[in-house]
């Protein structure tokens, strides 16, 4: 628990630094992840990875790897390039909690 708290605070802090005055409401972006990454028991055989139980750190790293073409995939590299690193961090934080 402690470790997670630390990561969350650090993330929020770095987010703050990176975006100065811009506003990031993670929901506005993260809701759009749920089109595909729904956490539904109805669809346990889905080929779309569940985000359940993933830490903010892991989601954030995956998003950054997609964005900077370090992790190949059919769709996510095209989407992750649409957001700033700070936005991706905020989304990762949101998704790890909801």
């Amino acid at each position: 628990m402690k470790r997670i708290c630390y990561v969350a605070v650090a993330l929020v802090a770095s987010t703050l630094n990176a975006i100065a005055h811009a506003e990031i409401d993670a929901r506005a972006i993260a809701f759009n992840c749920r089109n595909c990454h729904t956490e539904s028991s109805l669809d346990s055989k889905s080929s779309i990875p569940s985000l359940k139980d993933l830490s903010a750190q892991r989601i954030r790293q995956a998003l950054l790897d997609f964005k900077y073409d370090k992790k190949p995939a059919t769709l996510m590299p095209r989407l992750a390039k649409g957001y700033s690193d700070a936005e991706l961090a905020a989304v990762a934080e949101y998704l790890s909690r909801n």
């Binding site: 628990m1 997670i4 708290c5 969350a8 605070v9 929020v12 987010t15 703050l16 975006i19 005055h21 811009a22 506003e23 990031i24 409401d25 993670a26 929901r27 506005a28 972006i29 809701f31 759009n32 749920r34 089109n35 595909c36 990454h37 729904t38 539904s40 109805l42 669809d43 889905s46 080929s47 779309i48 059919t74 769709l75 590299p77 095209r78 989407l79 992750a80 390039k81 649409g82 957001y83 905020a90 934080e93 949101y94 909690r97 909801n98």
Partner: protein, 432 residues
Amino acid sequence: MAGLSRRRFLQGVAGFGAGVLSGCGGLPLRSGGKAHVVVVGGGFGGATAAKYLRLLDANIQVTLIEPKAKYITCPGSNWLFAGLTSLDQLTVDYQALQYRYGVKLLVDRVSSLDPARRSLRTLGGQSLSYDRLILSPGIDFRWDAIAGYDQAATEQFPHAWQAGLQTLLLARQLQAMPDGGVVLIAVPADPYRCPPGPYERASMMAYWLKQRKPRSKILILDAKRSFSKQTLFEAGWTKHYGYGTANSLIEWHSLADNPLLELNKQSRVLTSEFGDQFSGDVLNIIPPQTAAQIALQHGLTDSTAWCPVRPLTGQSLFDDFIHVIGDAAHYAPIPKSAFAANSEAKACALAVTSLINQTPIPEAHWLNTCYSLIAPEHGISVAGVYKLDAANAIMPVKGAGGVSAGTDGEAVALEADYTRAVYRSLMVDTFG
């Protein structure tokens, strides 16, 4: 941090900078205390809006008005022509919205709006007042575009552009056609519902014909010069259906300068402006479209026959208390898709809850991904990430989005798998 509630944490994040202030703050709520939002249309836009409004703020009462107790999805309906699905599998009800999220469902049709009183009436004789109205009523057809192709003609020449009996009718006609027969698909100019839809339909029909009636032909008569994911579709057609050869199952012809003007029902002949005549054993005519009647009828459309909106909130340019989302609204360059309607609904729900609670409206983000099947194991996609530019117009984010990168067998098989998985997840996110 861990002790903070989810809501407070989010407000904290949202509060970093100066937000956009609500334009209509300060007006008293009509229902004294609890705000009432009425959502018209239980398709992808309306169902998502109703659900997310309740998720965002359980203090808001949400009534969803939809004439059909069950909804049949257009997404996935082309797969029926390949024998890959059934109408049953494409049907969903509103139980989860009602019982899981507390949305009040009214199975009825809105017959008229009274914007001055912020109320509406239904065909069933009910009168409802609202604090905010969200319209996601979908499309209607321009029956004057091709002379002779009117509503009655759809019984003989289905458009199948609203899923249901029309889809079944078209599938039956395809099945009844002789081997060596011709299917004609007439495609309208932009903008219309689901830009890649006609080409996915041709693909799915070709897949079925290839096995059952391989001497047949599908003729696409297109009012456009080019089409969505054209390179990917044509590569797939070449691979699976002999595209470009004399025996191709699919032919595509642009009639951009020579539009189809008339249908003779008796002779089954379509005539173009220059007098070219086209006929077939199956005529699938997809007419040009407009926003649904309810929007046209109340002056919520402009000269394009679609509803102009302020994208940040989805508010109609003609009425601050009416929001329009989905196919009926003009969100270009975002295409008219179920995925986009779902995304527009979420941005709208965030804006509506902010307006009601008089909190800053968050920056809007939209996403679209349109998958199409060319064959059961061959999927392709186009994606777009959108936000507002400095002039508050929607723009695709540079460097993001675009069509499928991988075209080898493994990549297209993966995308075929994702096509089906994304359909299921979109259904859960919207209706479940």
